[in-house]
């Protein structure tokens, strides 16, 4: 066991007892990064020098409150002042913002040490990180498999011991799905809980910042640090943020857990089903009340999601026109050619596909049939959840239908690839908090248990997750990595 393999709370206790310094922790992470990066390829940018500077400053100060001295990585969707922010796209390959995302500012204030920027599917569009314009990231449990996506770099780096935590963004499952594939904890809180300011938008009404950690206690700590109202994000909600670490209690007697039958139907792998059913048995043994429910509109969630998300994306990504920043084709003869040639060169095929689908869905004559219909489905999905939550505290389900698939296996088949999100997108469509925690293995690959809560009831799912973690040891398993 090396420092880089420890959790945040373990590292904090070492720091507070002066048994380790922030710089030693950082060094351990950097050594691991150097060792595994040729295989994992989670990082787009590693910031050794600035990270060391911050770590030393914190050691000098000797105050290890908050997240002081804890290394972390950011999905390259978060704007970082003075640091290249690429969104894993040729379009923004050399883009350096002069501002920090609010979530990043809060980590900086808490003393956390940014080690680098992590790989992702281009503009957060994808479920495998194969759509990065630069290179794919590999799953630390099996380098031939994908880490999931779009926050694949964020999940893989935490799983491989390169950093104890990372931030991702989750539009349709982009934190929970890679967390499940890489055997780590991932939470996407309620829409509005964390500011989106400075997070490069994919689909504004669905995007939410998420946290990836090695256990639930770490998740609670980081979530507490970055949550809360931000006047710069009009969709962030001005309500009090509970102290999530207070929810780390293993007494869940009487907690009412529902499992929706639609989430265990066709397409869901038998081993995944079995692991989640086993998890439900564990909950029963802990005194929770578990019952089956129905979320009848679930089958419409995926198509509705891709209409809403792509429609918003078609507008959000229109600003990349080569005029003010980003890639520009200087050979263009006129402004229209400059727009189209810059965009043709700057965007990858999946981004183009989604922009075109979204543009189509909003076009005159199609708006009612597609976009408007999708908004109605969205309301029905929300109603389904509301109804279940009248009688239950938590909804439990698999995070993904299968474990991580092989690199290249689905890349030519967008529809199959989209199916990876089928169990996570309804949560974004309803704006609810969702979490994935390790609950078993199939063929040596981790399986994720998804816990879904009422709006702003992150505390409840953290409590349920913590109780499960205390009763099991899945979260302690680590990939072999196969390197020295």
């Amino acid at each position: 066991m090396q420092l880089c393999d420890l959790t945040i709370h373990q590292l904090k206790s070492l720091l507070e007892k002066k048994e380790a310094t922030a710089e030693e922790i950082l060094d351990s992470c950097l050594v691991r990064i150097q060792a595994v990066e040729p295989k994992v390829r989670a990082f787009i940018t590693v910031l050794e020098d600035s990270a060391r500077e911050i770590a030393r400053a914190i050691d000098k100060q000797g105050n290890y409150q908050g997240l002081a001295g804890i290394p972390y990585g950011l999905k390259d969707v978060f704007c970082t002042r003075g640091v290249k922010t690429t969104c894993a796209s040729r379009m923004l390959e050399n883009f350096v913002p002069n501002y920090d995302a609010t979530a990043v500012s809060r980590l900086i204030e808490a003393g956390a040490v940014m080690v680098g920027k992590l790989n992702m599917d281009e503009f957060a569009m994808g479920s495998s990180t194969e759509h990065s314009a630069f290179f794919p990231t590999h799953n630390p449990w099996d380098y031939n498999r994908v880490p999931g996506g779009s926050s694949g770099g964020s999940a893989a780096a935490v799983a491989a011991g390169e950093i104890p935590f990372s931030l991702g963004s989750d539009t349709g499952g982009s934190v929970r799905q890679p967390a499940a594939y890489c055997g780590v904890v991932g939470i996407k809180p309620t829409y509005g809980r964390i500011s989106r300011w400075g997070v490069i938008a994919y689909a504004s009404s669905l995007d939410q910042v998420g946290v990836l950690t090695r256990d639930v206690a770490d998740c609670a700590l980081v979530l507490k640090t970055i949550s809360g109202y931000d006047p710069l994000d009009s969709t962030s909600i001005n309500i009090e943020v509970p102290n999530y670490p207070d929810s780390l209690q293993d007494d869940i007697r009487g907690l009412k857990i529902a499992y929706p039958r639609e989430y265990f139907q066709q397409g869901v792998d038998e081993q995944v089903k079995a692991a989640v059913m086993q998890a439900l048995k564990t909950y029963e043994s802990l005194g929770a009340v578990v019952d089956e429910v129905s979320l009848p509109h679930s089958e419409y969630a995926l198509p509705a999601y891709y209409l809403v998300a792509n429609a918003e994306a078609s507008a959000n990504l229109a600003k990349y026109d080569g005029v003010r920043y980003g890639l520009r084709d200087f050979s263009a003869e006129n402004v229209v050619d400059m727009f189209s040639q810059s965009r043709a060169q700057g965007f990858g095929p999946e981004v183009k596909r989604r922009i075109m689908l979204g543009t189509y869905a909003l076009s005159a004559g199609y708006y009612e049939a597609y976009y408007l219909k999708a908004l109605k489905v969205r309301r029905l999905l929300k109603n389904d959840f509301d109804q279940v939550f009248e009688n239950f505290d938590v909804i439990a389900a698999p995070t993904t239908p299968t474990v991580a698939f092989k690199i290249g296996e689905q890349v030519g088949d967008p529809l199959t690839l989209y199916m990876n999100d089928i169990l996570t997108v309804p949560v974004n469509m309803a704006g609810l908090p969702g979490m994935s925690i390790p609950c078993g293995f199939a063929d040596g690959m981790p399986i994720g248990l998804q816990l879904i809560g009422k709006p702003f009831a992150e505390s409840t799912i953290i409590k349920a997750a913590y109780a499960f973690e205390q009763a099991t040891s899945f979260h302690l398993a680590k990939p072999a990595l196969g390197v020295k």
Binding site: F78, C79, T85, C87, L92, F95, P97, N98, Y99, A101, R196, W197, G198, V199, I200, A201, A203, S204, S205, P231, L232, D233, S234, T235, A311, E312, S314, A315, A318, K319, D321, V323, R324, Y325, V335, V336, F339, T359, L362, S363, A364, Y367, Y371
Partner: protein
């Protein structure tokens, strides 16, 4: 060949820049004339990860404007994205309001041939302005465009009228009334040259009596009231000629060519943008507390309609005068202050519309820049009334006052211009004139009444015009009939 008598149907879309201190979705200053790209931040430049935050003041101004336009103010409205690519539009979408505008169902009254006519307002909605392109040299020859984003994110209110206007003159009147209403409401500078008031006109024609509207064209690039009138007249004529020749009017967007005084096609209906409006996900719906609207309504200043009614009812001024006097709040204040000291409204109005306007226009000046203060004009008019100066002299003195800002009595004193109303002085001069013109005196006595005019003229000449003409008349009459 002329086949029908036609009716012209006009609707206007007017953009008014709201004069908030900062832009509508960020904290950048909203000011005209700054160095290019100095009032710009990552938000109004459309940088990645940036989000809009609505300026409350812009909402307040929209409500004030809406109330002034007799609109209903929505208690619930929302913002939408209007998508199109253009180098001056940083996000490649404009945040606007599509199906739920903040203001709807209003009207403005104008005067047509002395009759009041009501022009309906369909809606007024909030949106952000785009930046602008700047070209060095000719737009057709320069190799590139420069983008200035200072204007990007300036709050706009787009005010859409019903197609209620029936002539270019009515359209002009409506736009003038709209401008004065916005000025009185204190929400905009409404300067057409600076672009804080912009107007597009929708024009169609139909044979008299026809209920269906004809095919309309939209005219852009109307940069003055005169351009609006000329362009509508030209466009309506063009439609009529096409119909007379059994030709088809294309539904299209046209631009006014100021130089050639014609409209030219910009883009056809087929080339029209599909803006793909959809709700702006970065801004929650805007819920407006009716109490807030009420308090704004209570703090509204006098508006042109109220002022116009006051001037007509209290002073009996004709609609024509009233419309001019209420064109800006400054102009009305000038009038009111002047009348307070010289309570003859019609005379004040005449002087303002006559001399004052003449010199203001000559100097291309605003009334705020006028050196003659309202009290000084009142002083001048009083001197005419009490006979110290003649009306003719008053005009010359006015010119002096306009140039120097001096009081009328000061100028009269300095130049020795005072009117001679002293009877003894005048009598001495009159006697001299009578003695040196015995023939004329004889003519008068012989029944030639007109001969008196010549004698008065001689007295005026002898006094270099300073004699009080009415008094001279009176005195000559007295002298001649007495002897």
């Amino acid at each position: 060949m002329k086949k029908y008598d036609y009716e012209i149907v006009i609707g206007l879309e007017v953009h008014v820049e709201l004069k908030t201190n900062t832009k509508i979705f960020c904290g950048c200053p909203n000011s005209f004339g700054a160095e290019p790209n100095t009032n710009v931040c990552p938000i109004c430049a459309g940088f990645p990860g940036m989000l809009p935050v609505l300026n409350k003041r812009a909402v307040e101004f929209a409500i004030r404007a809406g109330l002034a336009l007799n609109c209903e103010i929505a208690s619930y409205c929302k913002f939408d994205r209007k998508n199109y690519f253009y180098p001056d539009l940083p996000k490649a979408y404009q945040i606007s309001q599509y199906d739920l505008p903040i203001c709807a169902n209003g009207y403005l009254d104008i005067y047509v041939d002395g009759q009041s006519k009501r022009i309906g307002i369909v809606r007024a909605h909030l949106e952000e302005d785009a930046g602008k392109l700047v070209h060095q040299g000719s737009i057709t020859e320069t190799a590139f465009s420069l983008v200035d984003l200072n204007r990007s994110g300036v709050p706009l209110l787009e005010i859409v009228s019903q197609p209620d206007m029936r002539s270019a003159a009515e359209a002009r009147q409506y736009l003038e009334k709209l401008r004065s209403t916005m000025l009185f409401a204190g929400v905009s500078d409404c300067k057409m040259q600076e672009g804080s008031l912009r107007c597009d006109a929708n024009v169609s024609v139909r044979p008299w009596g026809e209920k269906e509207l004809g095919v309309r064209t939209e005219i852009k690039n109307l940069n003055s009231f005169r351009a609006l009138e000329k362009a509508i007249e030209y466009e309506a004529r063009r439609h009529m000629d096409l119909l007379d020749d059994d030709e088809v009017i294309e539904r299209e967007t046209r631009t006014w060519d100021e130089e050639k005084q014609v409209t030219r096609s910009m883009r056809s209906k087929e080339e029209a943008h599909d803006y793909r409006y959809f709700p702006e996900p970065d801004l929650p719906p805007l819920v407006i507390d009716p109490e807030w609207v009420k308090s704004i309504a209570q703090s509204m200043p006098e508006l042109p309609d109220q002022a116009q009614r006051r001037l007509m009812d209290e002073y009996g001024l004709p609609p024509y005068d009233v419309a001019i006097i209420t064109s800006t709040p400054q102009y009305l204040a000038y009038f009111d202050q002047c009348v307070a000291e010289y309570p003859q409204p019609k005379t004040v109005a005449n002087w303002m519309m006559g001399e004052l306007n003449k010199y203001l226009n000559q100097g291309n000046m605003d009334i705020a820049e006028c050196l003659i203060k309202p009290g000084q004009l009142a002083g001048l008019l009083q001197m005419v009334d009490d006979g110290s100066i003649s009306g003719k002299m008053a005009k010359d003195i006015f010119a002096e006052m306009f140039a120097s800002g001096k009081d009328a009595p000061t100028i009269v004193k300095e130049k020795g211009l005072a009117q001679i109303s002293d009877q003894d002085t005048l009598m001495r001069i009159i006697e001299e004139v009578l003695q040196s013109n015995p023939k004329v005196v004889a003519d008068y006595r012989g029944g030639k009444q007109k001969a008196a005019g010549f004698l008065v003229g001689q007295v005026m000449k002898a006094t270099k015009g300073q004699a009080n003409p009415a008094l001279v008349n009176q005195l000559i009459d007295k002298c001649l009939s007495a002897e």
